[in-house]
């Protein structure tokens, strides 16, 4: 049946070819609409008032002045809100960690700084904003604890594991004993700053009140099914009462996986007022929920003089909120990436008074690999070995934790091809040995690893009598290119032009799919789309064969190809039937199929599935100013089949940019006295700008994988994983200074 995917001529295949985004025209003309851009008759604008303390209680809220402003409709607080469920289970979303989800306006308790304490609802935005400034909140404040270093002694193993996150494996061998005996020992502490996602589009929800107690909700979310589950659960509504849409998402990076408080508050207000409501967060309020929390990590490596690892320990303490046990895989990567006979990995949490952290692009891997791959660079330095050679000495073709072979692992090819493209052979190993003018030059390398996942997904495919195909499901295209790759798969499956295929996403009225995250969407929705299209192809083929005097009368489905809108014999393309003719002859004006895909459990029993990266970085460091520039990056990626090299490359360069941000710029600074992030704006929280980004080069290494029929492993996350470590390693090579806490800011180098 694989022949159905490959039309007769290789030149008209879309899958595997660079294709421009199908949503490009909408995005360059301003016609693509985001959650805050849908409107309704009599729309009410909400503006959230947030807590100025991190821990304590609200003792009084004076809303009189706000309510007196002409145009203010109502001010909602915990005192006057409508009835709401107090049962934490009602608030569970699809990806929430164990614990009690935050319930907005439930009571007077303050759990984190920036927590909503009131919502001002007004006829226009400016009035709501102004009136919000008049709300007077009085608190009884308690001393917040936000300094993870002061809480390391209280760290605990999370009693309840987070769904989808494997806890550290049982140790194997004797890591501590082997470390003590190892001739070469390295033990260092590494840390990364708290980071916030800061997508360009602030979180927003527009709730439109429809007839008969139903609602249409436009919510900034990476999968509308999650908002639907959350809102129906919290408000005791049926799924058919709440349709959630989000056709375009202005950046997710994990920050849009869980429905946020503005969605709850907009629905609360809409039901209370029986009017449509929109709430948009300010940029500052984007610091009042999910973030990549700081982890304090210790990596211990014991090695023989030839570089063979004898002992590996990776211990992490990670921040979470007081009300939920958010968890990541930070340390397991260290057990997966290298062969070592004595390994111990531990992961503990410490509760701090912030909102619950959350997944941010390659959660856990970015922090964990920064530590591990910095440590490997330090070990190479101590051994006097090339850092690539050290990694190859400890290379493994079997995944050590599960003791299974990798489904595919072309990491060696990533090193070889990346090194050649980068010119690694010209590197002089000694730190401070390369210089250009007044700048020190440093070359660094690191590996990256990420899971290749699939999630149960459906895609609905509809072929109409005019030969047009429509594909759709509820997942989001968060800028990753899902609209485009599904269109490519649909076009190839039925031999249509991409113009004849329309993909719709982000609508709960379409087939159900999970949130877009974990780099699983291409594999999951892609396979479901392919299956749906194959079933349609089979049905159309039957119609074609049944036609009077059909040129395909005795043909076998295995021996036909779909190309140019026709079904043709593979051996004799002159014998063919137009899809539209087959439909017409069969009396069908539409064929609808829902395709389903999920993880291949047979494959998973035998193999472990990961994507890999070898990333090479050149930095130039102005020694007098301490300023670091990343002048060149080559990121070599092994991620199975690349469906669209154009959009996949953009995923890798985008992740590289975010990795540069982690390494050099991004840091949400907590004032521990106030328990508050202080630099809550894009002027003081620096994300990379145009001038920070120079040459970025991407290599996709050939890799065949059979975890799914498309051979896809996902590219959304792997590009960021090793980047920060490679930059830190390059900075060390340039300057001789090893910085073990990200970001590498000027003062750490002077």
């Amino acid at each position: 049946m694989a022949t159905q995917i490959s039309p007769a001529s290789g030149t008209d295949r879309h899958v595997g070819s660079p294709r421009s985004r199908v949503d490009g025209p909408a995005k360059v003309t301003g016609l693509a609409k985001y959650a805050a851009e849908f409107t309704a008759e009599g729309l009410v604008h909400g503006y959230i008032v947030t807590s100025t303390i991190a821990r304590g209680t609200v003792t009084a809220i004076d809303t009189a002045a706000a309510r007196a402003v002409p145009g203010v409709v109502k001010v909602l607080t915990h005192d006057n809100r409508p009835d709401m469920s107090e049962d934490p289970k009602s608030y569970q979303d699809m990806v929430g960690p164990p614990g009690v989800p935050y319930r907005p306006l439930l009571d007077a308790n303050v759990l984190f700084s920036g927590q909503p304490v009131a919502v001002v609802l007004a006829e226009d935005f400016e009035t709501a904003r102004y009136a919000a400034s008049l709300v007077k909140v009085t608190y009884k404040a308690e001393t917040p604890k936000t300094d993870i270093d002061a809480l390391l002694g209280e760290a605990y193993e999370p009693p309840k594991k987070r769904d989808g996150i494997k806890p550290p494996p049982e140790p194997w061998g004797d890591a501590d004993g082997a470390y003590a005996k190892a001739p070469i020992q390295l033990r260092q502490q590494y840390r990364m700053a708290n980071e916030h996602h800061n997508p360009m589009e602030p979180h927003a929800t527009t709730v439109v009140v429809e007839e008969g107690g139903t609602f249409t909700v436009y919510d900034k979310i990476q999968g509308v099914a999650n908002t639907q589950q959350y809102l129906t659960g919290a408000f005791g509504l049926k799924p058919e009462q709440v349709r959630v849409l989000n056709p375009y998402l202005g950046g997710g990076f994990g920050g849009g996986l869980r429905p946020q408080f503005q969605a709850f508050l907009a629905m609360l207000a809409a039901r209370d007022l029986n009017r449509s409501v929109r709430i948009v967060l300010t940029r500052e309020q984007m610091w009042s929920f999910t973030y990549r929390a700081e982890a304090v990590q210790t990596v211990s490596l014991g090695a023989d003089r030839d570089g063979t690892l004898q002992a590996l320990r990776h211990d992490a303490v990670h921040g979470t909120s007081h009300y939920e046990d958010y968890q990541e895989n930070i340390v397991n990567w260290s057990g997966t990436l290298y062969a070592c006979d004595n390994v111990k990995l531990t992961y503990k949490l410490a509760k701090i008074d912030t909102a619950t952290p959350g997944d941010m692009r390659a959660p856990g891997a970015v922090s964990g690999l920064f530590a591990l791959e910095s440590a490997m660079d330090e070990l190479a330095q101590d051994l006097g070995k090339d850092p690539i050679e050290l990694r190859l000495i400890n290379y493994t073709d079997r995944e050590p934790i599960e003791d299974k072979p990798f489904g595919s692992k072309a990491l060696k090819a990533c090193f070889t091809q990346g090194a050649e493209r980068f010119g690694w052979a010209k590197r002089t190993p000694q730190p401070r040995s390369m210089r250009e003018g007044r700048e020190l030059v440093g070359w660094g390398v690191a590996s990256g690893i990420w899971e290749a996942l699939m999630m149960p997904s459906k895609v609905r495919a509809v072929l109409t009598g005019d030969g047009k195909l429509e594909l759709g499901n509820s997942t989001g295209d968060i800028g990753t290119g899902t609209y485009t790759i599904l269109t490519q798969i649909g076009a190839d499956s039925l031999g249509l032009s991409m113009e004849d295929v329309t993909t719709k996403l982000g609508d709960t009225s379409l087939a159900e799919a999970p949130v877009a995250g974990g780099s699983w969407t291409a594999a999951s929705s892609g396979t479901a789309a392919m299956k749906a299209c194959r079933e349609i192809a089979a049905q159309v083929f039957v119609l074609a064969r049944q036609m009077d005097d059909s040129p395909l009368a005795n043909a076998d489905f295995e021996r036909v190809v779909f190309t140019g809108g026709r079904i043709a014999l593979a051996d004799d393309p002159s014998r063919s039937v137009a899809i539209t003719d087959a439909m017409k002859a069969g009396g069908f004006d539409r064929i609808e199929v829902v395709g389903e895909a999920g993880p291949d459990s047979d494959f998973a029993k035998e193999f472990e599935c990961f994507t890999h990266q070898a990333v090479f970085v050149e930095v130039k460091v102005d020694e007098e100013l301490g300023q670091v520039r990343v002048t060149r990056v080559v990121s070599a990626i092994a991620a199975g089949k690349i469906l669209n090299p154009k959009t996949a490359r953009s995923q890798i360069i985008g992740a590289t940019v975010m990795g540069i941000g982690s390494a050099l710029h991004e840091e949400s600074m907590l004032d521990h006295r106030l328990g508050r992030f202080m630099n809550r704006n894009l002027g003081e929280y620096h994300v990379p700008a145009h001038a920070d980004i120079h040459d970025l080069d991407v290599i996709f290494v050939d890799e065949e994988d059979k975890a799914n029929p498309l051979g896809v492993k996902g590219v959304g996350e792997i590009g960021i994983v090793g980047t920060a470590a490679a930059i830190a390693n390059a900075v060390h090579h340039a300057t001789g200074k090893r910085v073990r806490d990200m970001p590498i800011t000027v003062e750490k180098l002077l």
Partner: protein, 175 residues
């Protein structure tokens, strides 16, 4: 003499202004506290212009005012009485093939070079690029990067954005 410190109008009392937006002349009653950005998005349904930070720190709201790029979030609408405003919705009409339905060359180049992912910063990047090219100061990739640094792209499409701008600067409408 005592200065009269009372404001001439209150912040929410509309005053009349005239703007030409994407070639269309519009007479509007606008409250002084309303930014050009909120006027476009909330009143005129021109939601192509984006609000990313409302502080002039991200550039997502960049529009052309009399051909000059400005942050619409930092501009009170009443300050621009009589001005010509071009938003992303009107960019195509500034293109070489004026009058047709064709896109502006920079819009085509953005698609061709995959110069965006989520698309939220894109209208600002496009307007900023057109404004920058009009300024005529940037000639090299480094100069383009410098001159475009007011427009943040969190998806990290920067290298592709510079490719697209360079393409248009070198080949213009002939590309």
């Amino acid at each position: 003499m005592l200065l009269d410190t009372s404001p001439p109008v209150s912040a929410d009392t509309p005053i009349g202004i005239t703007l030409t937006i994407n070639g269309q002349r519009r007479e509007l009653q606008v409250a002084p506290w309303t930014t050009l950005l909120d006027l476009l998005r909330e009143r005129l349904d021109l939601t192509g212009t984006k609000k990313g930070c409302d502080h002039g720190q991200c550039g997502a709201c960049t529009v052309l005012v009399n051909g000059t790029r400005v942050n619409a979030c930092l501009t009170l609408a009443v300050m621009k009485d009589g001005a010509e405003i071009t938003t992303v919705e009107g960019l195509a009409s500034l293109g070489e093939r004026k009058g047709s339905n064709a896109l502006h060359p920079i819009q085509e180049a953005f698609i061709e070079h995959d110069a965006f992912q989520c698309g939220y910063c894109t209208p600002g990047q496009l307007c900023s690029a057109v404004g920058m090219m009009g300024e005529g100061h940037a000639h090299s990739r480094d100069e383009i990067r410098e001159a475009m640094s007011g427009n943040i792209c969190r998806c990290g499409a920067y290298t592709n954005i510079v490719d697209a701008i360079e393409d248009v600067m070198q080949h213009g409408a002939a590309r």
